[in-house]
């Protein structure tokens, strides 16, 4: 037995997405990889990876699927992530190590599952309480699981009780937010996977909708998203809101009376994001779902000291296009907030090229499934509601001229293909001309060689084409400028909040304004352009200096 000193325990991954599904069988593991078939355009595909079947006794068996099954007889398989417990330890004679917590490590530490390990879980759905500012309209569940308990535990959520407040979810009619299971570690391996690791699995709920007895049949707006259908012109279709078995909520809470934009509720934006919105007076039907955010904790007691670890899962809808990746992901968002800008040196240039290439591939993957014609049409109309007159005569235009020949030289490609830009008219044989053009344009960049050549030759064009992100606080002037800055946008500058053809075109950011890359992505791309230009300029010189992100403009 080794002499081991425990320094820390932690879960991996530290955060994860779980995804709803009503099948009893979770989705198997798969990874992203490159498709190099002749006609594949080097797109991303998914490939099965080693997956785990949970035996009735709670232990695992590994296997490698040949295919990925997303549904079982029409029921969607949930994404139920595993979380592994790891430890930072000092092993006598070997030094400090990061290792998974296994049965062997527990033995080395002189502790056991049943006496020294607890798993705790706290899951909650606070959507309704956020709207109505009433904690009794939240609902949540807490669990404590002993280290030798390997059953699946149901997260039965109820609303907290407070004097003089009506609980939304009754104690005798809880809502399941999913299950937590401490996997039974067993000695041995299966397909080279160590089955003696301590793992916790969270299985999300089934995607059910709940309401009160009043949530029976409801009228819905047949209008476009965000458009209000007044009672006076009701031409609505009717649908069941909540199945009879799920009409279990308290009908006497503020959630059943909520109306958006009343000015009393600090409405989160967009405010019309609940059943009942945009029809008549937008009175809420009082419905909730079974999504949640869950925090899992491990407590390992060693020699009278408690070591704790935590991890977090967010329950999302299914990813219906699992081989198409967002170019602005949640990971990118966190990196943008917390990580330093990328510095490009001769040593990191190749990695940066791969990162930039991957960014362009992700853009291509998104454009494959985006109806750009429809979003362009919609957001140009949004623009024209806010700015009926185009006061900016030079490209890129904010109105119907956007992404047409009027936007030349910016719209070099679309200007040649699309003469009038009236998306309502068929353009030759293409029914979705902007969509097709976008896929065509970005398809070329799936070749690394082509992309690098393009960036080297057309760096100025790329700088013009990419919409700058909103500036950092350091960049923003104390008083807003009269018009846009070429390197960053300012939320106080009206023109910076209007859509145009710059990339990414006609998409929305988190504040409903035109989407850009993250600041970090943008800086990386712009710095890489400079690096490539220096590389070209210094082709015959012997040394290159590192390229760091351009210093941000002082106010």
């Amino acid at each position: 037995m080794k002499k081991v000193t425990l320094l820390e325990v932690y879960f991996l991954p530290p955060m994860a997405m779980a995804r709803l599904g009503n099948s009893e069988i979770p989705l198997e593991a798969y990874s992203w990889e490159e498709d190099l078939r002749a006609h594949s355009a080097c797109q991303t595909i998914i490939r099965p990876q080693i997956s785990f079947w949970v035996r009735p006794d709670g232990s695992l068996e590994a296997y490698l699927p040949h295919e990925i099954r997303f549904k079982d007889d029409g029921k969607i398989r949930p994404v139920a992530p595993f979380f592994e417990l790891w430890a930072d330890v000092v092993v006598a004679g070997e030094g400090q190590q990061q290792v998974p917590v296994t049965l062997a490590l527990l033995a080395d530490l002189g502790v056991s599952l049943e006496q020294h390990l607890l798993i705790r879980a706290h899951a909650a759905n606070t959507k309704a309480s956020r709207r109505v500012k009433d904690p009794a309209c939240s609902f949540g569940a807490r669990l404590t699981i002993r280290g030798d308990d390997h059953l699946k535990h149901n997260l039965l959520a109820v609303s907290p009780s407070f004097p003089e407040r009506e609980p939304l979810v009754y104690e005798d009619a809880p809502i399941s937010l999913g299950h937590v299971q401490l996997i039974r570690p067993v000695a041995g391996q299966s397909l080279e996977q160590d089955l003696s690791c301590v793992r916790v699995r969270f299985t999300p709920a089934k995607g059910e909708v709940y309401g009160s007895t009043e949530a029976t049949m409801g009228a819905v707006s047949p209008l476009e998203p965000g458009r209000q259908l007044p009672y006076a012109s009701i031409a609505a279709r009717m649908h069941e809101i909540v199945p009879a078995a799920n009409r279990i909520l308290n009908p006497h809470t503020p959630w059943s009376e909520y109306i958006m934009d009343s000015g009393m509720a600090d409405d989160p934006q967009p405010s019309d994001s609940y059943d009942g919105a945009n029809v008549g007076e937008s009175i809420c039907w009082g419905t909730v779902d079974d999504t949640c955010e869950i925090v899992l904790y491990a407590e390992l007691t060693v020699k009278g000291q408690r070591f704790t670890a935590s991890t977090r899962a967010f329950v999302a809808p299914p990813d219906y296009a699992p081989d198409r990746r967002p170019f602005f992901s949640m990971a990118d968002e966190l990196a943008d907030r917390e990580l330093s800008p990328v510095e490009i040196t001769a040593e990191t240039a190749e990695l940066t090229a791969l990162e930039v290439h991957d960014l362009f591939k992700r853009i291509f993957e998104t454009t494959n499934l985006l109806n750009l014609d429809a979003s362009r049409d919609y957001l140009i109309r949004e623009n024209l509601k806010r700015a009926p007159v185009d006061n900016w005569q030079s490209p890129p235009h904010i109105g119907r001229e956007g992404m047409t020949k009027a936007d030349k030289p910016l719209s070099r490609l679309s200007g040649d293909v699309l003469n009038d830009g009236l998306s309502d008219q068929s353009q030759g044989h293409s029914r979705l001309p902007y969509t097709d053009m976008s896929a065509h344009a970005h398809g070329s960049f799936t070749s690394l060689d082509y992309l690098i050549t393009f960036l080297k030759m057309r760096g100025d064009r790329v700088r013009q084409m990419i919409r700058p992100p909103f500036g950092s606080f350091k960049q923003l002037p104390a008083e807003p400028a009269a018009d846009s800055h070429p390197e960053f946008r300012d939320p106080r500058v009206f023109r910076d909040t209007l859509h145009d053809m710059r990339m990414p075109p006609y998409m929305r950011d988190s504040d409903r304004e035109p989407l850009s890359l993250t600041r970090r992505q943008y800086q990386t791309l712009m710095t890489f352009l400079t690096f490539l230009e220096q590389q070209e300029g210094n082709a015959e010189s012997t040394a290159q200096s590192p390229v760091t992100p351009a210093s941000e403009m002082p106010s």
Partner: protein, 326 residues
Amino acid sequence: MMSEQPKIFPRNLTARLAYQAAGNPVSSRLEDEVGNCFPGLGIDIRNLDRRFFPGLVFNFAGREHRELDPEIPNLYGARLVSVEDECDADLHQSNPMAIALLAVFHSPQGRELRQGEWFIDTLEQAGKTIALYDRNSKGERIPMDGMAVWRIVRSLSPGHVGLTLMRRDLTEADGQHPTITLNGWRRQFVDPKTGTLNEVYQPGELVQSLCSPWQHDMRDCACMYWASNRPDIVFAEVPAKTEEELLESEDANLRLDWLRSDREATGRVFAPNSYRKLRQYQMDNHEINKRWTELNFALESREISETYTPPERDAQDPDETDQDLN
């Protein structure tokens, strides 16, 4: 032979997020979740900023129709929801700035903050101060809308932040609203060592502003940014087994509206080019609460029924094979 092109880049990930746990599909990773969220499908990351300043919790109160002047401008901006100095682990006593901040929270000024309607009035970082005001259509100064305030808060870098709070529901004898200035810092949202989200965020807090139910947004958000998880358009499923059969298929290039209500053969028509034209043929709100499981997964941009079999890997490079044999 498969490419060496990586799909995961640890340099661009916060601590420990690069780890791939065995048994998990890649759709459990944060790289698979759309980051720009209005409000998002799985996480509304804007909720991080409601606790950007240790000890304080804000709501970013915005309005739906920002193109119109607000009837009551004072309702909008970053409203102080609560002072939570007692349960904020970032305010530990080993940090001199935390000690100073706690002293304010525990002072008469701190007690004042716990009553009335306080909003952020100005933000300061690195010697620069930005006042959170806007102009209405008459050119009059009005409080900035909550979403624009959020954007400016989001622009802060880690490090010192000064903020001035103004109480809007009280006017003093001199006609001015009371103000309180605090000095603190922009919170670190992700622990740089463990990679976990700061534990000040309560379970449910990062998803509290998502749609209720989630299906409502799946249907009714003018999304324009979720296509990688929730497609706008997809190619129709065809019964081809090989690429050649696919190319010969009549429907190979038929591009469908993914959210169409008619899932039968009669619904297999080209997606129109505007939301106005496609809306009436899509699933409705309420309807989607029950029918979301009928929506197809799309692989390689094409709808599938229930399973996906990836293409065979190409034969190994002959040179590599030779090396293996040597």
